[in-house]
């Protein structure tokens, strides 16, 4: 398994270059897919002017961004203003360093794992990098020196801190059962049959993870940080040209990487029954990459689907969802998983009890919320809410 140093370095470099490019091309694909799918959902055509069926639309968009005037307003805090769009891209790019995107490929006798780095703190690394995602938004917002930006940044940081907790806690159940932090190990342990994948064993945690991943990308229905109707453009109001495009790209990259992580942790990674043994040691590796991409693409479709289906949350709804529903559900899921696993070692029982307890938690929380509801809940939503004038 241990490769010679030169093979390791060369293969790693190739993998890094390929992964980064696939990510960038994926962003272009996502821009097109977003428009096409939204057109399909809203029963219209979507882009169809640039190239056949509009497939060159992302290139036209890119050229537009590049050629626009790169404006730096006078009132901004210049170093931070210029740094923020770069900072927001970094977490998305470096997270994919630990995600296994395939089994392994055998080239001239060397078995090369299809993963840039299989580190023993993989899940912790992802959590650490995810927690940095908030910096790009907050710094861009503050450096813009604009009240709409600042409000967007404050909302976003509060939202991301709240949902990061859920994101981290929802993975604990998975870690208890796999007793490993390595993403490759977690993916392999799930096996290749869909009914043995983690999303069935940890169904409530999986839902919580997906919701938190949505919140971390700042997309609808969690896009209060850039709510156009209230905050002009939110944290990227003052950004133009390529700097705006970097925020834009970062959103899509976060989606892609988030989907890839979800696939690895909950959907068995690159595995699918019957397809591991097809072809030789070279082709089975490529097929596993293809399976991984299909699974990730499904998640990305769900991202777009949700965006064009659900309206935006109100700020108090957002905080209620995060703190009063998702957090108790994940905590209950950890307790149930740990207890059942310690006594019975039965994954079926863990899966069933997780769902049952999550339902009980939701029932208790919603009953309590209904019972203690104030007669006039809309007035004071704290410092982060928009003013009364703009909401009426």
């Amino acid at each position: 398994m241990d490769l010679p140093l030169n093979v390791l370095i060369i293969s790693s470099l190739i993998k890094i270059v390929v992964v980064v490019h696939i990510l960038l091309i994926g962003v272009m694909g996502m821009i097109l897919a977003e428009r096409k799918v939204s057109g399909w959902i809203q029963d219209r055509h979507g882009p169809n002017r640039v190239g056949p069926w509009g497939i060159l639309q992302p290139i036209a968009d890119g050229i537009k961004f590049l050629l626009k005037e790169d404006l730096v307003p006078d009132h901004v805090d210049k170093p931070v203003y210029l740094l923020a769009p770069a900072i927001i891209l970094v977490p998305a790019l470096v997270t994919c360093g630990v995600v296994p995107f395939g089994s392994s490929i055998t080239v001239s006798g060397y078995e090369i794992p299809l993963q840039i780095a299989d580190i023993n703190i993989g899940v912790l690394y992802i959590l650490a990098i995810t927690s940095l995602g908030v910096y790009g938004v907050v710094l861009g917002a503050w450096a813009s020196n604009n009240k709409y930006s600042l409000l967007g940044g404050l909302r976003s940081s509060a939202q991301m801190i709240s949902y990061e907790l859920t994101l981290g806690l929802s993975l604990i159940g998975v870690l208890i059962l796999s007793s490993s932090l390595s993403l490759r190990e977690i993916a392999i342990q799930q096996g290749s049959y869909p009914w043995t994948w983690n999303f069935l064993i940890h169904f409530p945690a999986f839902l919580a993870f997906t919701t938190a991943a949505f919140a971390e990308t700042n997309r609808l229905p969690f896009d209060l940080a850039e709510a156009e109707q209230e905050l002009v453009g939110g944290y990227h109001t003052e950004y133009s040209s390529m700097k705006f495009a970097m925020y834009f790209m970062a959103e899509y990259m976060h989606m892609i990487v988030g989907s890839a992580v979800a696939v690895t942790l909950f959907f068995g990674g690159w595995q699918f029954f019957g397809l591991e043994t097809v072809g030789g040691p070279f082709w089975s590796g490529l097929i596993s990459v293809g399976i991984f991409f299909v699974k990730t693409a499904f998640f990305l479709f769900v991202f777009i689907w949700v965006r064009w289906t659900l309206p935006r949350f109100r700020y108090d709804q957002l905080m209620n969802l995060g703190w009063k529903f998702l957090l108790p559900i994940t905590l209950a899921s950890i307790v149930v998983t740990a207890t059942v696993w310690a006594f019975t070692q039965s994954k079926v029982l863990v899966g069933i009890l997780n769902v049952v307890v999550a339902c009980i938690v939701v029932a208790i929380v919603s009953t309590t919320l209904v019972m203690t509801r104030e007669p006039e809940p809309v007035e004071d939503r704290g410092i982060l809410s928009f003013t009364k004038e703009s909401s009426s």
Binding site: V80, I129, L132, V138, S157
Partner: protein, 233 residues
């Protein structure tokens, strides 16, 4: 070699950004410099083999604590409260005190450990080719009990990596046993090892920290709770 390079890069980054923390006028810039310091320290932890601590460092400090700082600075709009920079006697005195303190600390750092003390992992490396000593066996046994390792696991996974064809600890030579001990110690930063020690030897302190966090949680809620929303702000 790799560790030296990492130490130089991250050491310079850490000291430089730490100086920036106290030199920048704007609190936000200071906070960002502090984030960079924490990152450099995480890099140093990795070069020291403390992977778990490095990850927790980034999660807790860069991801939670500094975001909280930024949040408060932005919420209170403290950027506008920049005091005019003045050099007075107190500051000069403070810098002098600081330099004396640094000199003292560095002197102690050099003197306490001058490189001649024998670290446990190097003990008994005198004779090359000699059989494993009882001290080394004791050391391995201690490591096993601390990290709850299995002798069979060590025999099957670690021993062949050090000396091929050998499959038990007892057949190793003294120098190979040293390598084994070093390897076992070098992996103590792995999350499972840290977890084992945390939940056996340090179980009570671990539980006590949860009380600290609970106390902090209650304290914060009490401190920032507004009595009457109409009179505040």
């Amino acid at each position: 070699m790799a560790e030296q390079i990492l130490f130089i890069i991250f050491g310079i980054l850490a000291v430089g950004s730490a100086i920036c923390v106290i030199a920048f006028k704007n609190p936000i810039h200071s906070a960002l410099a502090l984030v960079l310091t924490f990152f450099s320290l995480a890099g140093l932890f990795i070069s020291l083999g403390a992977y778990f601590v490095a990850a927790v460092q980034v999660i807790v400090y860069a991801g939670a604590i500094m975001v909280l700082f930024l949040f408060v600075i932005m919420l209170l709009n403290l950027g506008r409260l920049q005091a005019a920079r003045q050099i007075n006697k107190a500051k000069v005195f403070a810098v002098i005190v600081g330099i004396i303190l640094a000199a003292e600390a560095i002197y102690i750092g050099i003197r306490v450990y001058d490189g001649t003390a024998v670290s446990p992992s190097q003990a008994g490396s005198a004779v090359v080719g000699a059989a494993i000593t009882t001290e080394q066996l004791d050391q391995i046994a201690t490591l096993e009990s601390t990290y709850q390792l299995d002798r069979a696991e060590i025999n099957s996974t670690y021993v062949p990596k050090i000396a091929e064809q050998k499959s038990t600890v007892e057949t190793l030579t003294a120098s190979e046993a040293n390598q084994l001990i070093e390897k076992l110690q070098g992996e103590m930063g792995k999350p499972d090892r840290i977890g084992t020690v945390l939940f056996t030897k340090f179980l009570l302190p671990f539980e006590v920290t949860s009380l600290i966090l609970l106390a902090a949680l209650i304290g914060v809620i009490v401190l920032v709770k507004r009595e009457d929303p109409d009179t505040a702000a």
